[in-house]
């Protein structure tokens, strides 16, 4: 394969992967950083890094896990660089509020707020399990946790949400 056709094949491969997994990358980033504008920045950085290291991806069947790992690292880098403060839900920027604004009904909007307010340690495994379809073993691999710790976090996350939903219903 000459250099030109190799470049084209590489670009096609990258475009195909992006087409399939961009939405997952964005949603994961958005729920990690809780800010739509920052999520777009994180995904852009992640795509650039993925492009540079595409040849390290030996099997496209592993592309999703590979990309989400890159997004996770880029999100951490972003916050290391900026040392952002903890988000206060009563004092959101427009970009942060945008994440909460699209819920189709009031019940889901309240639940979305509750997810938003979960600690990172609880929110991230929940996003990986519910939104990305990860098993608890896979979540442990991605987050560097033992399966027991993942189970505990997921259990606590759902109990917190369950209590919040019950509180909202009582109110």
């Amino acid at each position: 394969m000459n250099s030109s056709s190799a470049e084209s094949a590489r670009r096609r491969r990258f475009d195909q992967i992006v087409a399939v997994f961009h939405a997952d990358m964005y949603r994961y980033a958005a729920w990690l950083c809780r800010d739509k504008a920052i999520a777009e920045d994180v995904v852009q950085e992640a795509l650039l890094r993925a492009w540079k290291s595409l040849d390290a991806l030996r099997d496209d069947a592993a592309a999703k896990h590979w990309l989400l790992t890159i997004v996770r690292r880029e999100n951490a880098r972003y916050f290391e660089r900026r040392r952002l403060e903890t988000v206060d839900i009563d004092n959101l920027t427009a970009s942060q509020a945008a994440l909460l604004a699209e819920a189709p009904n009031e019940e889901l909007e309240e639940l979305r707020e509750s997810i938003y307010e979960l600690d990172d340690d609880y929110r991230e495994p929940l996003v990986l399990q519910v939104l990305m379809g990860y098993s608890t073993t896979e979540i442990g691999e991605l987050m560097g946790l033992k399966q027991g710790a993942v189970l505990t976090r997921l259990h606590r996350a759902r109990l917190k949400l369950k209590e919040k939903v019950a509180d909202d219903e009582r109110a």
Partner: protein
């Protein structure tokens, strides 16, 4: 998750089901504890709502400026995974089984006795759906086959490589195929076909399940070696009909 502990107490069971709503262990405890049955229903219902709440609009992908990469020393990697021979045999056996069911049903003019039989027979109607493929169906095709009030499928559980509107029990239902770890996995979204409890589909080379979802059900069938739990989670999370 495969933990099966018939001696679980309520706390242990609730911890497991709230950590993973697809947890299928503790059947002994569950069958004897109505409170834990109610807790499980509550958690599974909550999980569907969480999945819906997490769905956010995604902007059109915009690529950053990509620098040139030195490709002379790059060895091209096949984009599509190969399908192991044993999986081919498994699929062939699956189709034979489905064909047998189909022939029995049509030759005798007998109606299907169960939804499970009809689902299995349906596999034979569209053998093209069981091809290994790395080409996803387009979003336009998905949107056409799967009405928004039925489900919002995406490629999170694996590439969706087949989407067609099919007939089950006289009603049109979306028939999807995603590429699992061990080959194609068939999914039928049946908002009008109620089942009271999960129905296991167990063949020599295939396995699957029909899961109750509100007033309908979802059938998921793959090769015997395929781990379906993750796919089940993803499919259930995509379902939009009233629960």
């Amino acid at each position: 998750m495969s933990r099966v502990n018939e001696l679980m107490n309520c706390d242990e069971y609730r911890e497991m089901i709230s950590a993973d709503p697809a947890f299928d262990g503790g059947a002994g405890h569950l069958s004897a504890c109505s409170e834990c049955q109610a807790f499980r229903s509550e958690i599974q219902s909550l999980n569907l709502k969480i999945a819906k709440a997490m769905q956010i609009n995604v902007p059109e992908p915009t690529l950053p400026e990509l620098p040139d990469i030195e490709t002379e020393n790059v060895v091209p990697i096949t984009a599509h995974k190969t399908f192991p021979k044993r999986a081919w045999f498994a699929m062939a056996a699956t189709m034979l089984l489905a064909a047998l069911v189909g022939v029995l049903v049509f030759d005798t003019g007998v109606h299907y006795d169960s939804l499970a039989e009809e689902v299995l027979a349906h596999l034979d109607h569209e053998p093209a759906s069981l091809r290994v493929s790395g080409t996803p169906v387009s979003n336009a095709r998905l949107a056409k086959v799967v009405p928004s009030d039925v489900a919002s499928p995406d490629h999170s559980a694996g590439l969706i490589t087949y989407a067609r509107s099919c007939e089950i029990n006289g009603k049109k239902v979306p028939h999807l195929v995603i590429q699992g770890e061990q080959g194609p996995v068939t999914i039928l979204l049946m908002p009008d076909e109620a089942v009271t409890e999960a129905v296991s589909l167990d063949g020599e080379n295939i396995h699957g399940v029909i899961l109750p979802v509100g007033a309908g059900s979802v059938a998921i069938i793959g090769a015997r070696e395929e781990k379906l739990e993750r796919i089940e989670n993803s499919v259930l999370n995509s379902v939009n009909w009233s629960t």
